[in-house]
Each structure stands twice: as structure tokens, then as C-alpha cells.
């Protein structure tokens, strides 16, 4: 254990300097006195170096993919190419207003148009829209499209159900609920959809079946064609959650598997940085049936010019302001151009190789549920740790002391004490081996050490129960609680 994170005794931003007593805001001619702020915003007045040092110190108390291996399952934490960062900051990308007249934004429109076309080939779908801000936003938009489709067919009254497997990401049922559907969960069998149970559950009430393939157990749903046939057989739509697309790039795609609509995460598969929680970019891809329902505007090419097309009578309309997270589209396009056909295919091959190689090795430390051939990620169960009085959570915290991030833990729920591990293609064999060694050391460490972890980070094990029981959610709360700021 040689890893040490910075541990700055850094005050909160409002404790860096005395905050001036608030006075009235300046009066603006014509603005009624009633509307005028009586007390200026309570916030410190800081010099630039004070601000830069504060946030630089905070940054040093944070893990990123640039500092360490980040094996979060279903998150596809791959290296974010620096060239993409440079390009997204060009004035031609960053300094363009979405409401500029079309002739002055031909470059943005062309980049969107090109990336959309490229992604139709990656997904095998008819049309692509880059409008959603994130994966869940894409899912939700897709379900609104499904809703609009059945409304047009006069079937919305009876198409009330969305079906999904018990391995689905939480966003799937949440999106379906927000879109007004009731949810039916289909049990898994050996980590994959129990097709018999699915067939028994589908009916003319089925609006949509949502599926991630490969799924969150890291398994390819090999019966996908049969699933598609069954869902279409009752007139339902099939939705592809693209969270795990990385594993199958260039080998199969949602179109070939029979999906009607899909979302992709540019911040996973196409290497745009995750920003400590966002922004993401959730691409929507639709087959022939649902393409007319994509959000407006669509970018179209007329002759050599690009323009925004609002004339889509069946479109669901807008799901956010403007046209999507364009800054991420630029990054993703650079990533796709760099890889090209063979490169993208290699991405899948290398991520699946990393995953199977690591799974085989770690399978000697902890049990692996289900079959052994996995795709980009795999599951382990931390159940045997319980015999030693420790849990998956302790193992996760102990891994942080090794200078690597922890895997996704306690998901999916069908595996007890689950660890979900994904090391994408940008991790070298050396990185994978180093992670494996760290993992083995952590598993074999004493229960005392596991429970005491982490010890090498800015803070020790955090009391999350207390955070929820006594919510302190802002400076205002801290003041109210009379909480003295501790900086030791």
C-alpha cells in the first residue's frame, strides 16, 4: 500500500475570507423598489489566486480516470482522449450560440449531421438524434416516442405496461414510470432474461420491453432474436439500453438484434469525460417505426447546406433546450474518427478480453455467479467475506487504499453482495494485472484492516447514515446548526 491521496485542511469557500455584511443591491432604473434585492448575495469576495488554490486543492482530493484505474461496472470508465478536449474548446465549437442564424452555424450543424450518420451505422438504426442530455434522458425520450406511437395507433389506452428484466438499471423503471407506464419485472434465469417468463408476461397490454444487452451481469442475451420476435408478436416495441454497447461495437448492433429504439451514452462508449457526475450525452436511435417521433429539430442537408428541420408532425417535440450537449458531440466525433471501423471493433474486442481475463483471475478469489463467458464486465459475489465478518462494502473501501477505484457494488440485486467490474479497452494488461493484485491483497487482508479502510484518502470511512438522518445540505444549514467549521 503505497498510495496516498492529498489531505488538505481546506476551509469551505465562505471561510477563506470574512464575508462582507450584506447590503442592498444597486438600484436599476425602472426596476420597482419592491423587486430590488435588500441584501446582496451572501458569498465571499475572493482574489483569483484564492479561488484557484481552493479548487485546485479540492481537485487533489478527488479520483479521476487520469489518476487511477476506475473499474465501475456499467459505467465504462475509459480514458478520455486529450485531443477531444482541445477540439471542444475551439471557438468554432465553444463560442457558437444555438440561436445564431443557420448560415453562421454550418459547422455545428454539419458535425451533428455527420455524427448522427456515423451512429446510425454503429446502431443499425434508421435515424439518430443527439438531443438527450444523458442516458436516462434518452430512455425517457424513447418511451415518450413509444407513447406517441401507440397514441397515433389508438392503442394507448390498453398499452399500459413496460416490461423489463430484474437486472435492469434503476433508470429504466424510473423512466418508464415518468412516461406514465406501469412496470412489470421479468425474472432472470442464470443471469439472463427467462424467455418463458417473458412470453408468459407479454400481451396486448405490452407497450415496450426494455433490455440492456449485454446485460448488467455482463452476459450477452443470446436469445435476443427470439425475444424480439415475441415482443413484436404482441405488437410491442423493443427498447435497447445502450449502457453496455462498448462490448459489442462492430460485432452486432441494436438494429440487427431487432430493437425499435435505442439510447447510447457518448460519455461511456465514445469516451467523453463524465465530469464527476455529468455532463453526459444520451443519443437516441430509432428504427423505421419510431423515427418520425424523434425530437425536433432534425438536422437535414439540402444541397450543400445544413439546416434545422422543424416540420416533423409526429415528433414528440422538445426534450431540452437547443440540440443536445454539442460540446460532447465534438469529443465523441473525434473519438469515432480516430478509431474508424476496425478501431471501434477492436474497442469491443479488447474490452471483452480484459474482462474475461480479469474475471478468470478474480474468480479464484471470489465466486462468480452464472456462466463464465462474459462481455465487457462481470459479477463477483462477496458472500464468502461474510464468514470473516466483513462485507463487499469493506472490500470496496479497502480497494481505494490500493490507489484504484472500487467496482460498482450491490448491483444488480439478484446477486448477493455483488461486485460489478468493468475495465475498458484503455486499461493495459499491466493495469489489469495491477488491479488484480490489488484486489487479491484486499480480499486476503485481515477483517480489522478491511473494516478500517480507507486510510489513505482525504477522509476515513464516511457515516452516510448520519448524512441522511441529519441532513446538512448547505452553508445555510451549517449556520443554522451552529456547526463550527472544522478544518483539522
Amino acid at each position: 500500500m503505497t498510495f496516498r491521496q492529498a489531505r488538505w485542511d481546506e476551509p469551505d469557500v465562505w471561510d477563506l475570507v470574512p464575508v462582507l455584511p450584506p447590503g442592498p443591491a444597486p438600484a436599476i432604473p425602472g426596476v420597482p423598489e419592491r423587486f430590488r434585492r435588500k441584501e446582496t448575495i451572501r458569498w465571499p469576495e475572493l482574489s483569483e489566486p484564492e479561488v484557484v488554490r481552493h479548487y485546485t486543492r479540492l481537485s487533489q482530493m478527488n479520483f479521476g480516470i487520469d489518476t487511477m484505474t476506475y473499474p465501475l461496472g456499467s459505467c465504462t470508465m475509459k480514458y478520455n482522449p486529450k485531443v477531444s478536449e482541445v477540439l471542444a474548446r475551439r471557438p468554432g465549437a465553444a463560442s457558437v450560440h444555438p440561436y445564431q442564424p443557420e448560415p453562421t452555424a454550418q459547422g455545428s450543424l454539419e458535425l451533428i449531421w455527420r455524427l448522427e450518420r456515423l451512429l446510425t451505422k454503429v446502431t443499425g438504426m434508421r435515424e439518430v438524434s443527439l438531443q438527450p442530455a444523458a442516458g436516462a434522458h434518452g430512455e425517457y425520450s424513447a418511451l415518450l416516442m413509444v407513447r406517441a406511437y401507440f397514441r397515433d395507433k389508438g392503442e394507448l389506452d390498453r398499452r399500459t405496461e413496460v416490461l423489463l428484466p430484474d437486472t435492469a438499471h434503476g433508470t429504466n423503471p424510473a423512466s418508464a414510470g415518468m412516461a406514465g407506464f406501469t412496470i412489470r419485472e421479468i425474472p432472470s434465469k442464470e443471469g439472463c432474461v427467462d424467455v418463458a417468463a417473458l412470453k408468459a408476461a407479454i400481451s396486448e397490454r405490452t407497450a415496450c420491453f426494455m433490455l440492456t444487452n449485454p446485460n448488467t451481469a455482463g452476459l450477452f442475451e443470446s436469445e435476443i432474436l427470439e425475444i424480439a420476435e415475441a415482443v413484436h408478436g404482441v405488437g410491442g416495441m423493443l427498447y435497447y439500453d445502450g449502457a453496455n454497447l462498448n462490448a459489442i461495437l462492430g460485432h452486432t448492433h441494436p438494429g440487427r438484434m431487432g430493437f425499435d429504439v435505442a439510447h447510447l451514452n457518448l460519455h461511456k462508449t465514445f469516451a467523453t469525460p463524465h465530469g464527476g457526475g455529468g455532463p453526459g450525452a444520451g443519443v437516441l436511435a430509432a428504427g423505421e417505426t419510431l423515427a418520425p417521433y424523434l425530437p425536433i429539430p432534425r438536422v437535414v442537408k439540402s444541397g450543400r447546406r445544413f439546416r434545422l428541420d422543424y416540420d416533423r408532425p409526429k415528433s414528440i417535440g422538445k426534450i431540452k433546450t437547443a440540440y443536445g450537449n454539442f460540446g460532447l458531440d465534438v469529443r465523441a466525433y473525434a473519438f469515432a474518427l480516430s478509431h474508424g471501423e476496425e478501431g471501434l471493433k477492436h474497442v469491443a474486442r479488447r474490452s471483452v478480453l480484459n474482462s474475461n481475463y480479469l474475471a478468470a483471475r478474480l474468480g479464484r478469489s471470489l465466486p462468480r455467479p452464472f456462466r463464465t463467458l462474459v462481455k465487457h464486465e462481470f459479477l463477483l459475489s462477496g458472500t464468502p467475506l461474510k464468514e470473516r465478518g466483513v462485507r463487499t462494502l469493506d472490500l470496496a473501501k479497502r480497494l481505494l487504499d490500493e490507489g484504484v477505484h472500487a467496482p460498482t457494488v450491490y448491483f444488480p440485486a439478484l446477486v448477493d453482495e455483488a461486485l460489478m467490474i468493468e475495465l475498458p479497452e484503455t486499461e493495459s494488461k499491466r493495469d489489469v494485472d495491477r488491479f488484480a493484485e490489488a484486489f487479491e491483497r484486499a480480499v486476503q487482508d485481515s477483517p480489522e484492516n478491511l473494516r478500517a479502510a480507507p486510510r489513505s484518502l482525504a477522509v476515513g470511512r464516511i457515516d452516510e447514515v448520519r448524512a441522511a438522518r441529519e441532513p446538512r445540505l448547505s452553508w445555510k444549514d451549517l449556520r443554522a446548526a451552529g456547526a463550527k467549521v472544522e478544518t483539522q
Binding site: E10, V13, W14, I28, F35, T40, W43, P44, L46, V51, V52, S59, M61, N62, F63, C75, N80, E85, G92, S95, V96, H97, Y99, Q100, P103, T104, A105, E110, L118, G135, H137, L144, A174, G180, I183, L225, G250, H253, A271, G275, G276, G277, G278, G317, I319, T321, A322, Y323, G324, L337, S338, G340, E341, H405, T426, G460, R461, R466, L473, W475
Partner: protein, 459 residues
């Protein structure tokens, strides 16, 4: 092949050997033959210099705002971004991190988000803020769903002057639970909300929330909003506020807002053709468990050291699934970081000074445009800050803007819903003062408008 994937000789071979297989192909036998594809039909990969040339070639077909005198605004602002903002947001410990699921490893981002939440609380006068939503429009839409959890009813009232994009987003979010978005008419002279309409709608008992924006979609301030809460009683009031305006305007929490949402892009975030943006959301303490999105809380570690973690997570999709308060997972954390860094660099006095200066420029522009035949500027007889609406009595907003563009002026943007089926609307445009324009650019704008007028409103 890009250098992002290690291709050390024998690396793959030794991994295959460890697995006891001959080829990576054997790892794909679980994909049935009938589901496999041949070529995708994508060009072969490029080396980094070629990628740069290729992308630059495309982006060079844009004419960035710096090539013009820019008067564009609306929910997306053009403002100078201090260099220090990019220095901090370029710290890759921040931008290459994932959502802080392991809080011990992510104290930097968590603390920054806690400071961000605190700032939005101070600005709005409410009690708690979340760690961001996608953008202002989806924040308004989440507030609609939020109100529906607090109050009975099917009708959600919004100003008819709300930008059409936002109304469309709201209609989408309302459609799932079978709710209705209804437009509050405005006074033709002042653009102010018809409060009698609100009063009678609320009296009919089916209204579960009312949203008002500050400034409104026309760029104007509506004093009537200060009295809305006393009129609607226990029906939740949402105020969609421009954050910069809150440097000089009363915090909405002080006049009864239960929720304050907003678009945060104007605080240091590049316009980037409309994304990523930043959705702001704050509410009252008693409604904390109904709030959408991630929330960071302060707590302690096992040594009693102060620490931060995502909290109140039982509201969220990964726990509550179909009964979550929202489906949001990935948010706009990095944009939230920019917001709080920008505000800390500029400071509360600097923000108020910036808003004051933009308001001055807008007034100068309005008076320069006064008396030009064929246009009314501002269209509404109401106070405004940095933006106002211009209405043309002949010609089209697009034609007017085209004419200005030929004189290197981005003169604003049309307000009308561009969908072919949309109801006919007056030729209006929203014009914004930006910090990139001064007296000279304002006079150029006026001269171009006079030339348009002299040509009879023909582009």
C-alpha cells in the same frame, strides 16, 4: 489505431493464453450468428493530426460569436468567461471522475457540489438545492412533476410568454402522468401575467402548481409575480429565475416561491451551440424528500472529521426504481462546478455590477432603436434588465436578423415557435445586451435597423 489502447507485443497473446483460448473470436461465440453484422460501413481510423484537421475543417464552417457584435440571449447567455474558470475545470481529477459513489475518494467534487448547492440556496432564499439537472427547461419540467407530488390537481399554469422550447419540454414531462400545461395569458401592453386568470383557475381547485419566470420570456420583469403566492395560497409556486438577475433582484423565496429553478449556463459555461447547460433547482426543507436529483450532504467520517456524501438517496432511481422522484442519474456536475467557480471569481458585487452594466446597455440600445419606423423596442411597457423584446410591424424577424447579420451583427433571435403547425404569432425577437458590445456596437445595431426600416422592412 489510436494510442489509447495498449498494443504492447504479446500482450493480447498472453491474455489469451491465460484464458486457454486461441483467439478473441472465441469470446464472441455467445452472439448468435444471425445477430452478427459484417462491416458497419465506417471509414478507417485517422491519426491524431488528421483528426484535428478533419474536425477543424468542419468547425471552421462556423462563424463564432466573436466574429460579430453579438446581441443574442434568451436562456443562453454570451458572457466573458474568466481564464481561471477553464484552468479549474481542466483539472482532470474533476473532469475525468465518475459520479461520487465512493465518497471517500471523491471529497473534492462532493465539497464543490456542496458549495454549489449552498450558493444557489443563498441566491434564491430557499433551503436546499440539488447538485444540478440537465438544463433550465428540464429543471422547470422536473418542478412540474415535483409540484404534482405536493398538491392535488391536473393543471399546471405557465406564462404564455415562456419560450416555446420550454413549453414543449413541459408538455412532454406532463404527458406521462396525464397532467396538463395551461398558458396564462398576458397583458398586450405590458406583457404582465393576467392575474385574474390565475385567480379563477386556482379557485376551480384543479391547479397543482404555477410557474412564473424572472425575467419573463420577453425579457421583462413582471411586478405581479411578487403577489402571486398570496393569490394561490397552498398551491406551489415555481419561479424560473435567471441567476444573474438574482444578484440585484429579491430572492424568490422571500416572495413565496416554493421552488426556484433556472438555467445556469451564463455563469462561466461556454454556449457550445446549446450544450452542455446547467439546470438549477432549489426547494423548501419540508419538501426535501420529494426533490429530484443528486443531493450532497455534510456528515462526518469515523474519526469525526467533516466529510461529504451523496445523501437522501432513497428518493433516487437506483433505490426507488419506478417510484423514484426522477429518473435522473447523470447530471451536470461539472457545469455546477463551473457555476460556483465563476461566482466565486466574480463575487457578489461583481455579479451585481455586471447585471447593472448589461441593463444600462440594454436601455441605451432601446433608446437608440426608439422612433425607428416599423419596429417597437421594447415591445412591452415594463421594466427590464439586460434583454427586451422587439416587435416588427412589417417584414419578418428572420429577414430583419439576416439584414443585421450582413453587417456583422447577431441581432437577437425570433421568439415564435418554428413548427409549421404553430399558431400564427407576431414578428418578435428577443434582443440581449452582452458584455461584448459597447456604445459603438449599439449604434451600429441602430444604424442597421434604420437601414432595414428605410428599405421598407425588406431584408
Amino acid at each position: 489505431m489510436p494510442r489509447w489502447i495498449s498494443d504492447e507485443p504479446h500482450e493480447e497473446a498472453s491474455m489469451l493464453e491465460a484464458l486457454g483460448i486461441a483467439s478473441v473470436d472465441e469470446l464472441f461465440t455467445d452472439i448468435p450468428r444471425k445477430a452478427r453484422i459484417g462491416r458497419m460501413g465506417i471509414a478507417e481510423g485517422l491519426e491524431e493530426p488528421e483528426v484535428v484537421r478533419e474536425v477543424d475543417k468542419i468547425l471552421d464552417r462556423n462563424r463564432p460569436v466573436g466574429k460579430f457584435a453579438p446581441f443574442l440571449g434568451g436562456r443562453i447567455a454570451l458572457r466573458y468567461i474568466p481564464a481561471a474558470v477553464d484552468a479549474i475545470v481542466s483539472r482532470s481529477e474533476f473532469y475525468t471522475a465518475y459520479t461520487p459513489y465512493q465518497p471517500e475518494a471523491s471529497q473534492g467534487m462532493l465539497r464543490t457540489l456542496f458549495e454549489f448547492q449552498s450558493l444557489w440556496v443563498e441566491m434564491t432564499g430557499l433551503d436546499l438545492a440539488n447538485a444540478s439537472l440537465y438544463d433550465g427547461a428540464t429543471a422547470s419540467a422536473e418542478s412540474l412533476l415535483f409540484c404534482s407530488r405536493l398538491h392535488e390537481g391536473h393543471r399546471f399554469l405557465v406564462p404564455a410568454s415562456l419560450p416555446w422550447e420550454e413549453r414543449s419540454v413541459l408538455a412532454n414531462y406532463a404527458s406521462g402522468p396525464g397532467l396538463r400545461v395551461e398558458e396564462i395569458p398576458y397583458d398586450a401592453r405590458t406583457g404582465r401575467l393576467d392575474l385574474e386568470f390565475v385567480r379563477s383557475a386556482v379557485a376551480a381547485k384543479d391547479v397543482f402548481g404555477v410557474l412564473a419566470d424572472v425575467p419573463n420570456g420577453f425579457g421583462h420583469l413582471d411586478e405581479g409575480i411578487l403577489d402571486l403566492k398570496s393569490m394561490i395560497g397552498d398551491v406551489p409556486l415555481v419561479v424560473a429565475a435567471d441567476p444573474l438577475s438574482l444578484s440585484v433582484l429579491e430572492p424568490p423565496g422571500n416572495y413565496g416561491a416554493d421552488i426556484v429553478v433556472g438555467e445556469g449556463q451564463g455563469f462561466g459555461i461556454a454556449p457550445s451551440f446549446g450544450g452542455p447547460l446547467l439546470g438549477l433547482f432549489a426547494c423548501r426543507r419540508e419538501h426535501a424528500r420529494q426533490a429530484p436529483g443528486r443531493i450532497v450532504g455534510a456528515t462526518l467520517d469515523h474519526d469525526g472529521r467533516r466529510a461529504f456524501a451523496l445523501t437522501l438517496q432513497t428518493r433516487e432511481q437506483h433505490i426507488r426504481r419506478s417510484r423514484a422522484t426522477s429518473n435522473i442519474c447523470t447530471n451536470e456536475s461539472l457545469m455546477a462546478l463551473i457555476f460556483v467557480v465563476y461566482a466565486s471569481l466574480v463575487g457578489p458585487r461583481g455579479l451585481a455590477a455586471l447585471q447593472t452594466s448589461l441593463a444600462e446597455k440594454a436601455r441605451t440600445l432601446a433608446s437608440a432603436l426608439g422612433g425607428i419606423a416599423g419596429l417597437q423596442a421594447p415591445r412591452f411597457d415594463s421594466p427590464y434588465l439586460g434583454e427586451f423584446t422587439v416587435e416588427l410591424s412589417h417584414g419578418t424577424a428572420t429577414g430583419f436578423l439576416d439584414r443585421l447579420r450582413r453587417r456583422k451583427i447577431l441581432g437577437g433571435h425570433p421568439l415564435a415557435d418554428p413548427r409549421p403547425g404553430a399558431p400564427p404569432a407576431p414578428e418578435r425577437l428577443l434582443v440581449a445586451a452582452t458584455d461584448a458590445v459597447g456604445e459603438k456596437e449599439i449604434q451600429r445595431y441602430a444604424a442597421a435597423a434604420r437601414a432595414w426600416s428605410a428599405a421598407g422592412g425588406v431584408a
